[in-house]
Symmetry: C2
Subunit: 372 residues, 2 copies
DNA sequence: TTGTAGGCGTTATCAA
DNA sequence: TTGATAACGCCTACAA
């Protein structure tokens, strides 16, 4: 409640006149406001000549409808709200790309905000979107049902991206974190590694937890031990990758392979190892997750779990747009994006290749799986 | 004029009731709407007990003010519009980061759109923001005065980013393209290169033109020839960098150094050269522009003209916010962001270093120069 | 085919 | 301290 603190001093209202309203157009075309509105929108309901007169007046005056006012009565803004943990970095940037493209194609604008954690910031961001957006794409790995009911009007169209699955009444989209991590670790084990470490994502983060789960399962299935010392806590940042790798190098018995829960950390680890004078993959193999564009360019090129990141954004918007058509419906979809292991130099496999997903049996025409 | 084509079918209005308005709060708290509004905003004008009653009611009902409606009367949206050529890629991503952070800190939201070229898309995007934003950060290297007057209300607060300087009545922010390019080429010449090629940016792009100008000037000052065959047209894309490099390799007499007008193309060139079996920098030296994060990670690490990209976004928003305070004023500022040459392996200099800007004489406390 | 009038949710003005 | 009432810019019954 209340307004955000406002450090900006606005000029006195009226000091500049810069708005041309439909009133001006109407006057200029010598018609009523209603007719002007019709001429601009539902052109079939107005005489051709008056229509032309109005549109000409509008053009001459550089009239542009006031979006806010219009949406007040039409109940639609043609805008979707996008809330991501961050707006920068290759991952989010790619997501945004997919979101923006799809939205734009459908004639929608995007209001974007970033809020890393649940809490006041996230809540404020959500509130600020009230009345400005038709629906929401929300990526918040710490999103809770509680927050949902407290902040969002019941029935408000929302698509959850990479959020922990809960009983939240929203559509959701997730990455196949478990499978992806599993296949990476299985691959490393298959290369003969027995001491495989993991740099985990942020604590409390759903994706992070799932990837860790996949790591553990793969080790188990490969009959490998999984000592606690090989599980190093990270937070998806490059700095955490560096720190984590350094920590692993302190061990009495070093790991021979490191699985970083995302590419950012993998790259950080790469730097730390290089600095320590170790060769990748000869001395230590490395694998990442997400396959951000940079993965191809680092040296050595990074083996990673490929996710079609921009497609994630695309899909989220598509889902949202379809919800906008039927806000009354009461079932919610839950989709999962398949991953692919992309083998490059950093893991030490003899040659680069692209490995099929963990469960090739589930023949898929698309990488999208409908879970519920 | 007219509305955007709308492929989305909305549900029948009224099919779901999801709006709690101030009316509901007022009723619940047994006060008039006016009092409810006051209790929520200017709490000092209302009796403490009624204030509490109202706020409690608002909390209980999960009331959130309708931004659109509010801004209709307050004439302020607490939102800035951001229009970039693209939303993805490291450069734009970094710009967005600076923009978002600064806006958020000031309690502003961002509506973002991408429109690569002037034209219908850009115009539509601008129109769609009418009535939704208090001001605009506009990055469009093809922006024209004509477009400005046609699309924007006179006096509308706009900050131009990387736009060609024109008589447009707006504040503007530019990169020191000329100086940056000049120092890069001078550096290459200083390393003994006599045949220095350039991969240019997109035709019609202001930044591209300026960088080309700096390249030419540096060659001239170094007493080097500048044959037309060494100027290869690009468009800032990685693909163009690859193609351009390949084209240069076809020459009877190859260049010994390539200056790519941005890092994306430099990286593309790197790939092409690697593929052709050439070593960088031993066989051919390479330099880029922008110093995007990836520049540090490619192999060999890329020598580039460093620009504090996110600071560009920061600064743009800061400028806009300050304009919001004084829309009536009639002078417009024009700032330029200084660059720094960052020497890494790709240019073949003996050791990496950071070279001061071209005109160190102009002692600056900040990298920002006020031009007018 | 056009105009009048009401209302979307909010804040601002002015009496009371 | 509070409550009517009038905007804000626009759209849309309903009536003419």
């Amino acid at each position: 409640m209340g307004r955000v603190p406002d450090p900006v001093r606005y000029a006195e209202p009226g000091s500049v006149e810069l708005t041309v309203t439909i009133k001006d157009v109407a006057r200029d075309a010598a018609v009523s406001i209603a007719t002007a509105s019709r001429a601009l929108n539902r052109t079939d309901l107005v005489a051709p000549q008056t229509r032309d007169r109005v549109r000409e007046a509008a053009a001459r005056l550089h009239y542009t409808p006031h979006g806010g006012a219009r949406s007040l009565i039409t109940r639609r803004t043609h805008t979707i709200g996008v809330l991501l943990p961050d707006l920068y970095g290759e991952f989010f940037s790619e997501v945004m790309r997919g979101i923006d493209q799809t939205a734009q194609r459908a004639g929608f604008q995007c209001i974007v905000s970033s809020a890393r954690h649940s809490g006041p910031t996230l809540e404020a961001a959500l509130r600020a979107m009230r009345g400005r957006v038709d629906g929401l794409v929300l990526m918040s790995p710490e999103f809770t049902r509680e927050l949902s009911t407290r902040t969002l009007p019941a029935g408000f169209p929302v698509v959850l991206l990479n959020c922990p699955p809960s009983e939240t009444p929203h559509d959701s989209l997730n990455i196949e974190n478990y499978d992806g991590a599993y296949s990476m670790v299985r691959h490393l084990a298959g290369l003969g590694h027995h001491r495989i470490a993991i740099l985990t994502g942020a604590a409390g983060n759903f994706d992070a937890a799932e990837r860790l789960r996949g790591y553990r399962a793969a080790l188990l299935d490969a009959g490998l031990p999984s000592p606690a010392e090989l599980v190093v806590a990270g937070d998806f940042s490059e700095a955490a990758g560096e720190a984590g790798a350094r920590q692993l190098l302190q061990l009495a018995e070093r790991p021979t392979a490191i699985f970083a829960a995302n590419d950012g950390m993998a790259i950080g680890a790469l730097l730390a190892l290089r600095e320590a004078g170790l060769r990748v993959p000869e001395d230590i193999a490395i694998g990442g997750f997400d396959d951000i564009p940079m993965a191809r360019y680092v040296d050595p090129a990074l083996t990673s779990v490929h996710v079609d990141i921009s497609a994630l954004g695309e899909r989220a918007v598509a889902a949202l747009l379809s919800v906008l058509g039927h806000p009354a419906r009461r079932e919610f979809t839950r989709e999962t994006a398949a991953t692919t292991l992309v083998v490059r130099r950093s893991c030490g496999a003899r040659k680069a290749e692209s490995v099929p997903p963990v469960r090739p049996s589930a023949a898929r025409s698309s990488p999208w799986r409908e879970v519920v």
